[in-house]
Amino acid sequence: MKRTDALEFCRRFARNRASLSGLLILIAIVVVAIVGPLVHQASPFELAGQPFLPPSDQYLLGTDMLGRNELIGIIYGARTSLVIGIVATLFATLVGVLMGGAAGYYGGVIDEILMRLTEIFQTIPTFLFAILVVAILSPSIGSVILAIAIVSWPPMARLVRGEFQALRNREFVQACISMGMSDLRVITLHILPNCLSSIIVTGSLLVATAILTESALSFLGLSDPNVMSWGFMVGAARDFLQRAWWLCAIPGVAILVTVLAINLVGDGLNDALNPRLRHL
C-alpha cells in the first residue's frame, strides 16, 4: 500500500466515529491483556481474600465465591479471549483460503466437491460439533482453538472462492496465465493480494464470533482448567446468582464490550477498504 493510499484509508476509517471508538476500546483491551499479567505476576486462580466481597478500593471488582480477585480474572481472561480468538481465526483463514482458493481458481469438479463440503460444514450444528471435539480431545487451549477453527472456516472459504472466481477471469490474470506463469505464482503474486482486504474484513468479524464461541464453551465447562477465561467465570458464579449477581454480570460485560468493539472495527474496515461494498 502506498503512503497516500494508507492516508486515505486512515481518513476513511476515522470518518466513522463508531468504528474509531471501537478501535480505541480494542486497543485498551489489548494493552490490558498484554501489560496486566506482566504487572500482576500471580495466578488468577490464587485466593486473594474473603469470598463474596463487594467491589471496594482494595478489590476493585470484589472477590468471587472462592475469594479470588475478580479484577485479576478479568485481566487474564482478556488475554485468553484474544489469543484464542486470533489464533483460531488464523487457522480458519488458512483453511478457508486454501479451500476457497482451490475451488475458485480451478473450478469444475474440484469446485463442486469443495463447495459441497463447505456447505455441509455450514449446515451441521456447528456449536454442538465444537462441544464434541473439545469433549473428546479433553479441554485444553489447543483443543478449543482446533474446535473453533474447524467450525469457522466455511464463510471464509465461500468469500475467497467468490473473489478468486471473479479475479481469475480478469485480463491481467489471464495475461499472466497465457505467459506461462505457474499457478502458484499467479495465485500468490496476483490474485491473493487483490482479495486481501476482503479477507481481512471477514477475518476481523470471525475473531468476534470465535470469542463468543470460546466464551460459550468455557461457560459449559469446556475450557483449559489452567487458564482463566470470562465464560468460565460466568459459569462458575452461576450457582450464586441470588447472592452475588455481579460475579456473572462483570465477565459478561467484558465479553460484550470486546465483541462489540471488534465488530465495530470490522464494519469500519469494511467501509474503508471496500467503499463500494455496503455489507458482506
Binding site: T123, I124, P125, F127, L132, L137, S215, L220, G221
Partner: protein
C-alpha cells in the same frame, strides 16, 4: 397437475442430496470416536467404568476393534442407519429413546424462537428502513448491534436476575411447575410462562441478525424498477411497501433462517442449560458433565439430521413464496 409432480420430484431430489451430508456427519462421528485418547470402546460405553465388563467386551466385539478400520466403519454406518445409537449407562436408557423423549421441548423452544425472531426482526427492519438515518433507525441499529455481540448465556442469566429473582414475575427454570399438577389449559399456560425467558434469550441474537438483513434488503428492494413502475401506476406508498417490497425483501430472511437452524440448536444447548429447559440441549450438557460421549455423539447426529430435514422444508416453503424459483 404438472406443478404437483414437479414439486414431488423437487422434494425427492432434495432428499437425495441430503444423503452425502448425513454420510459426512456419520464419518465425522466415527473419526471423532477414533481420535479420542484411549480405547474407542471406553468412549462408546460412556467412560469412567460405568459399563459392565460384559458390555465392554460386547462393545469391543461389536465395534470389532480387532478388525480392519473399514469394516469397523461399515458396521458403524449400519448401526446408525438403523438408528441404533447405543446405550447410555449414565441415564439407564437407549440413546435413541433418551433423545426422542427430549426432542419435544427443544422443538417447542426452537419453533417459538424462530417465529419470535423472524417476526420482530422483520417488523423492526421495516421500521428502520422506512426512514433511514432517522432516530428510530439509529436506535434499532444500536440495539441490533449490541444484541449481536452479547453472549446468550449472559443474557439468560441477567434476565433471570431481573425478572425472576428481583421482580419475581417469571419462574427461573424448568418447563412446568412440578408441584402444581396442572392439566389442560392451565398446564399450557404454565409451560408458556416457563417458555418466555428462554425464548426471548435465544431470539435476541437472531432478531439482531434479521433486523440488519431486513433493513438492507428493504433498502435494496426499494430502489428496484418494479417499485418505480408501481409508483408510476399511482399505487400508494403503503401498498407498495406492504404488497410488493415487503414480500421480496423477506426472501433473504427465509434463506438465512434455514442457514441458522444448526446454530439455533447449538444456542439451545446454552439456553437450555441456563434455564434448565428439559430438551436435548440440557441432555447434551448432562452428557458432557457425566462424560457420556456416546450420548453426545448421538445428540450431534440427531441434531444434524434435524437440520437437514428443516432445510428441506425451508426450500419447499421458499418455492411456495417465490414462484420464480424453478423447482430444479
Amino acid at each position: 397437475m404438472g406443478v404437483a409432480r414437479e414439486r414431488a420430484r423437487f422434494i425427492g431430489r432434495r432428499v437425495a442430496q441430503a444423503v452425502p451430508t448425513i454420510l459426512v456427519i456419520v464419518t465425522l462421528n466415527f473419526l471423532l470416536v477414533h481420535l479420542a485418547p484411549g480405547n474407542a470402546a471406553d468412549v462408546l460405553a460412556g467412560e469412567s467404568g460405568s459399563a459392565t465388563p460384559q458390555y465392554m467386551a460386547f462393545l469391543r466385539h461389536r465395534f470389532g476393534l480387532d478388525q480392519p478400520l473399514y469394516v469397523q466403519y461399515l458396521d458403524y454406518l449400519k448401526n446408525v442407519v438403523t438408528l441404533d445409537l447405543g446405550y447410555s449407562f449414565r441415564e439407564g436408557m437407549p440413546v435413541r429413546d433418551l433423545i426422542l423423549q427430549r426432542l419435544g421441548p427443544t422443538l417447542l423452544l426452537m419453533g417459538t424462537t424462530i417465529v419470535l425472531s423472524i417476526g420482530i426482526g422483520i417488523l423492526l427492519g421495516l421500521v428502520a428502513a422506512g426512514r433511514p438515518n432517522s432516530w428510530r433507525d439509529n436506535v434499532i441499529s444500536v440495539v441490533a448491534l449490541v444484541s449481536y455481540a452479547t453472549p446468550l448465556f449472559w443474557v439468560g442469566l441477567m434476565l433471570i436476575v431481573l425478572f425472576s429473582l428481583h421482580l419475581g414475575w417469571l419462574p427461573t427454570s424448568g418447563m412446568v411447575n412440578i408441584a402444581a399438577f396442572y392439566t389442560g389449559w392451565q398446564k399450557a399456560g404454565d409451560v408458556a410462562r416457563h417458555l418466555i425467558l428462554p425464548a426471548i434469550t435465544l431470539s435476541l441474537f437472531y432478531m439482531a441478525l434479521y433486523v440488519r438483513l431486513m433493513r438492507s434488503s428493504m433498502l435494496e428492494q426499494s430502489g428496484m424498477d418494479y417499485v418505480v413502475t408501481a409508483r408510476s401506476k399511482g399505487l400508494t406508498e403503503r401498498a407498495i411497501t406492504y404488497r410488493h417490497v415487503l414480500r421480496n425483501a423477506s426472501l433473504p430472511i427465509v434463506t438465512m433462517a434455514g442457514v441458522q437452524i444448526g446454530n439455533l440448536l447449538g444456542g439451545s444447548v446454552v439456553v437450555e442449560t441456563v434455564f434448565g429447559w428439559p430438551g436435548i440441549g440440557l441432555l447434551a450438557f448432562r452428557a458432557l458433565f457425566a462424560r457420556d460421549l456416546n450420548l453426545l455423539l448421538g445428540i450431534f447426529f440427531v441434531a444434524a439430521c434435524l437440520v437437514v430435514i428443516v432445510n428441506i422444508l425451508v426450500d419447499v416453503v421458499y418455492s411456495l413464496l417465490d414462484p420464480r424459483i424453478r423447482l430444479r
